[in-house]
């Protein structure tokens, strides 16, 4: 695979940009490990530390402030969902599921602002991760935006046409909508497969 990284580095703060991307990746992984294994005091410490890192970097650069906040906002619903799931599980030990959720949230927000998609792939490649995974990651990245766009479009169409104000009805329609979007995605995947075949793809990694 040829590499073309130049763009999309615009809102990466230079402070983290100077650290080797591989090191950044390892830091992320080990922090993730600590968070998922630690309990009690260590977890509490890790949370404080992460919040510290975050405050420090936010204070250090205005650009970073904007991008990390954007990432946090985008992740928040997901984070709430995870915390909700964890609260359903048997683990009862005071605040640790919550802390864990908060930690992972901050960590991921830091990670996506510190590490461009292009850098991430570069790192995975240099770690000899099989190229099929990296290609798949590329597809996910490429079509994530399309998927979101499709969802937004359908939501808009729904809002334009629904007159009933019942909330239950709204949710029922939304469920149908998600089914529609999945169907469309399936159709899209067939078309993409055709497009790949037309350009010489024959299920062999090259």
């Amino acid at each position: 695979m040829s590499h073309y990284w130049t763009s999309d580095l615009a809102d990466r703060p230079s402070f983290f940009g100077r650290i080797d991307p591989r090191l950044r990746f390892f830091l992320f992984l080990s922090a993730l490990g600590v968070i998922s294994a630690a309990g009690g005091r260590l977890l509490f410490g890790a949370t404080l530390f992460l919040i510290g890192v975050m405050l420090f970097s936010v204070a250090a650069s205005a650009k970073f402030r904007r991008s990390v906040l954007r990432a946090l906002l985008a992740l928040l619903p997901f984070g709430a969902f995870v915390v909700f799931l964890m609260s359903l599980s048997r683990e009862t030990g005071g605040p640790s599921p919550l802390l864990r959720g908060l930690c992972s949230l901050i960590l991921i927000a830091l990670f996506v602002t510190m590490m461009g998609f292009d850098e991430l792939r570069e790192v995975l490649r240099s770690l000899r991760v099989p190229s099929i995974f990296i290609t798949l990651l590329g597809f996910v990245y490429r079509y994530f935006f399309l998927f979101r766009e499709e969802l937004e479009k359908m939501d808009m169409a729904l809002k334009n046409r629904s007159f009933s104000s019942s909330r239950l009805e709204g949710w029922r329609l939304r469920a149908l909508l998600i089914g529609q979007v999945l169907l469309r995605s399936y159709r899209r995947s067939e078309e993409v497969y055709r497009a790949m075949t037309a350009r010489g793809y024959d299920r062999k990694e090259r």
Partner: protein, 231 residues
């Protein structure tokens, strides 16, 4: 150059999309496949690329289009899909245009050079590092053309090349297509485009061939155009 005889296709679980279509395309010409929505244009183009299991016979450069040698044949045919979001499946423009060359075993440096060349041909120099999802529709369309041009095909196939383009992008895109000198086949109901760049036309109506003629004779009979829902 391309001969099609008795081409039929039925989508699984669907009705017939093509029924006994025969025609021929000559070397170097701009050949338009016209017809209203649902008349089978896309199905016909996909068959020419060997992407559907059709009934009938298709010969390209004298070779029968079937399992053997299909991949080699595809190398000399470029396909520009109607929806550029289907065609462009890699995260960046450079990787996307390089996909074809990589599949056919060109080295990284060679592929890079070919990509550069193809991007120049569609007047999009320097777009290698751009993320695909950030491009405008018109830009995506041009990059899609570049992905088809990169292997210097002898035949280029376009599905509705001008649909959804604003007037300026449409003109640019038509100029690009008109300026190429390989054999071009395009499906469209943009009759102004047909008038401007097509040499000959195949009219499809409800999956059957309604006419195969040169452009002048097509426009000579307005009542036929209306009957085929083209005017």
């Amino acid at each position: 150059m391309i001969e099609v005889r008795g081409l039929s296709y039925r989508y699984p679980g669907g009705e017939r999309a093509l029924e006994g279509v025969s025609f021929a395309v000559r070397k170097g010409e701009a050949f338009a496949v016209v017809g209203p929505n649902g008349s089978g244009k896309t199905t016909l183009l996909l068959s020419l690329m060997g992407l559907l299991k059709f009934r009938g016979e298709i010969r390209i450069f004298g070779h029968q289009l079937n399992g053997k040698g299909l991949r080699e044949l595809r190398r000399s045919i470029g396909f520009v899909f109607q929806d550029p979001d289907t065609q462009l499946f890699m995260p960046t423009v450079g990787e996307d245009v390089a996909f074809g060359p990589q599949q056919f075993g060109y080295s990284g440096d060679e592929a890079k050079r070919m990509v550069k060349e193809a991007l120049r041909a569609v007047r999009m120099e320097g777009y290698e590092g751009r993320f695909t999802h950030r491009l405008s529709y018109g830009e995506k369309k041009k990059i899609a053309l570049a992905t088809a041009l990169v292997l210097s095909p002898e035949i280029l196939i376009f599905d509705e090349p001008t649909s959804n383009l604003d007037p300026a992008s449409r003109r640019e895109f038509l100029d690009l297509i008109g300026g190429l000198n390989c054999t071009r086949i395009f499906a469209t109901h943009d009759m102004d485009m047909v008038r401007r760049i097509a040499d000959r036309v195949l009219v499809l109506f409800e999956g059957r061939k309604a006419a195969e003629c040169d452009v002048e004779s097509l426009f000579k009979s307005p009542e036929n155009l209306r009957k085929w829902r083209l005017a």
